[in-house]
């Protein structure tokens, strides 16, 4: 198997895909408002026609590049290119204002590389044994896992709990359109034969993520990087940041925080970056200097957010609960290829999975190449937003149409996107709805099979609610539902002290 993986990764076409993916991701990530999730969603139809390993490696490379690319605007414009780069702005922009933009950019590259590699090591060694645990799960556990995934994503990300849950359950309901997988009848099609095939995952993901961004981007204006000059030697700054990264334990600690947060379902790079930044700041002898231009701040944030990239796939590929919104799209990619999360992914499709893991490693190494892109960053940042908007619209329409050659899919995509645009404005988060669409079929199979088995055994309650793992999952769901309230109470108690 190792020989097959190495041979697949050493193909010139695969290396070109990795480098191309990292560059595309980096360009998308450095444009404010274009997130890694959106980039993956809009490119999903292209990967649909590729072999599984190539598709996953391309998506993984884009993901790695995009998270790193978000650091560029965080440093040069004080605007995080992706949500994962919020903590990078804290010290990245002050460093740029001091004339150390090049150093901050080089640190963001090297920290991303190291964080990514460490997160990837955990993916390689932790995912296969965890996937074996999934063999013990039956239909009711799969149903409760799907519900747990949505609950955690809503609870941890700090969005409105109620609106997040409504969003997630609407996502689940969208998957019920079309022919019922076990009943066989058509549901919610309004007698339109075009809807009988249901809403494909790709159509849902593109609609929910891309169309709202098209409408938002068309209304935005370019923000210029005024007064920030990127100067200094690329190579000498890179050597300096490499020495700095290895000079203390901040890098390792940030990687471990990023990896841990990545494994937590639903948390994502933004939380990892902020937590690592906060921890490194607390450990420093001069915490008061953070926020005024400390390179350790960039180190912590960028190491942690890239450690999330690989580690967020651990729960996604083992239990079907993605660790971040981009991981939800990656999960969608394996589902549309006909694979299912769990043990079989690391046995029957082991070559594909380990090619992805190897691809992640090479994509992180390829990040070294993007340091030569820094002279064109200012030009990329000044691309008019309306041009980006129409390009995303064209890619969304043609990508959706290409899946089944069906105009009805394009209309469904556009309708979902327009509804989501207004939903976002009213405070309904996108990520839970996307997760609902990704997990809907798995959840339905779990629930309906449970009902059938329970009926045959003559007892619904013991089978659906009484098995040890289902009890644990239900307790976890209740805990995460209560978590925002518990957190508020804890903050109150701390405030009074």
């Amino acid at each position: 198997m190792i020989a097959e993986v190495v041979s697949a990764l050493m193909q010139p076409s695969m290396i070109a895909i990795i480098i191309g993916g990292v560059f595309i991701g980096n360009l998308v990530g450095c444009l404010p408002g274009l997130t890694a999730t959106m980039a993956l969603a809009v490119l999903l139809p292209i990967t649909y026609y590729m072999p599984i390993s190539t598709a996953l490696v391309l998506m993984g490379s884009i993901y790695v590049g995009a998270i790193r690319g978000g650091g560029i605007t965080a440093i040069l414009l004080n605007v995080p290119g992706t949500p994962s780069d919020i903590a990078t702005t804290f010290d990245g922009f002050p460093l740029a204002q001091k004339g150390l933009a090049r150093r901050a950019l080089m640190m963001s590259i090297f920290a991303s590389i190291m964080g990514g590699i460490i997160g990837n090591i955990f993916l390689a060694f932790l995912a296969p044994p965890l996937a074996r645990i999934s063999l013990r799960l039956g239909p009711p556990e799969f149903f409760w896992l799907c519900i747990l995934g949505i609950t955690i994503m809503v609870s941890i990300t700090g969005e409105s709990l109620g609106k997040g849950l409504i969003s997630g359950f609407i996502g689940l309901l969208i998957t019920t359109v079309g022919v019922s997988p076990l009943g066989g009848e058509t549901r919610f099609t309004f007698d339109l034969p075009q809807l009988a095939g249901g809403v494909p995952i790709i159509v849902g993901l593109i609609g929910l993520y891309c169309i709202p961004r098209v409408l938002e981007l068309a209304q935005e204006k370019v923000q210029e990087a005024e007064g920030i000059i990127v100067k200094g030697s690329i190579h000498s700054e890179m050597v300096w940041v490499i020495r700095k990264w290895f000079s203390g334990f901040q890098g390792i600690i940030s990687s471990l925080i990023g990896t841990f947060i990545g494994i937590l379902p639903g948390a994502g790079g933004n939380i990892a970056g902020i937590m690592a930044y906060d921890q490194i700041k607390r450990m420093d002898k001069h915490p008061e200097e953070f926020g005024k231009g400390r390179i350790e701040g960039v180190l912590a944030a960028e190491t942690a957010n890239n450690a999330v990239v690989s580690s967020s796939l651990i729960p996604a590929f083992t239990f079907g609960i993605p660790g971040s919104p981009p991981a939800a799209i990656m999960l969608g990619a394996i589902l549309v290829q006909g694979l299912r999360p769990g043990a079989k992914l690391f046995t029957e499709h082991a070559v594909d999975m380990y090619t992805l893991i190897g691809g992640f490693f090479l994509a992180n190494i390829a990040l070294f190449l993007v340091m030569y892109l820094s002279p064109i960053y200012s030009k990329i940042l000044s691309v008019p937003r309306e041009i980006l908007a129409v390009f995303i619209a064209v890619m969304s329409v043609v990508g959706t149409f290409a899946i089944r050659g069906n105009f009805a899919d394009v209309m469904v995509m556009c309708t979902l996107g327009t509804v989501m645009y207004f939903g976002r404005k009213l405070g309904f988060p996108t990520a839970p709805a996307v997760l609902g669409i990704v997990l809907g079929r798995l959840a339905e199979e779990g629930l309906t099979q449970s009902m059938m088995i329970a009926k045959a055994r003559g007892g619904l309650l013991p089978y659906f609610f009484g098995r040890p793992i289902t009890v644990i999952l239900i307790i976890l769901i209740l805990f995460f539902l209560a978590w925002p309230f518990l957190q508020a109470q804890l903050q109150k108690v701390r405030g009074t002290k």
């Binding site: 849950l165 359950f169 609407i170 309901l173 009943g183 309306e386 619209a393 064209v394 043609v398 009213l426």
Partner: protein, 158 residues
Amino acid sequence: MKSININRRLADKILSVFLLFLCGAILWETRKFSEYGAYFPYIVTLFLAVFSLVYFIKSWGVLLRKMGSSGKEQLELIQDLSSFLVSFVGVLAYIFILFSLLGFLVGSILFCISVTSVIQITRSEASFKLTTLSLLSSGMFTFMMYYLFRHVFHIHLP
């Protein structure tokens, strides 16, 4: 730049009522399904109805008053109305007229150029440099996408 704002509380009130009606309609519809086809939508809708009911109670003020919300908070629904309308109508025209009638190549180039130009004109940003950039980038991008889907993935585009 004209924006459209809406009272947040009013929007929440209307939406919560709509969601409750939607849940009712879906539950009614599930009666027509077979036993195995109805389980999942029925249970998911029941959950959705519970969340919508909580949303309804909150938005109609029972809990909000306790939480001290003023109820006057405005929500920016559309930041720049003209750009929004141009992009929205442009996407619809692209899907229903340009893409399906004129085909991918001509339709996409026309869509890209017309939408970017109209937005730039409404914002008084139009210039020779920007128009040239829009023209060149639209043409290159469309041909690249066409080549990718038609010749690499062998997918027939209209």
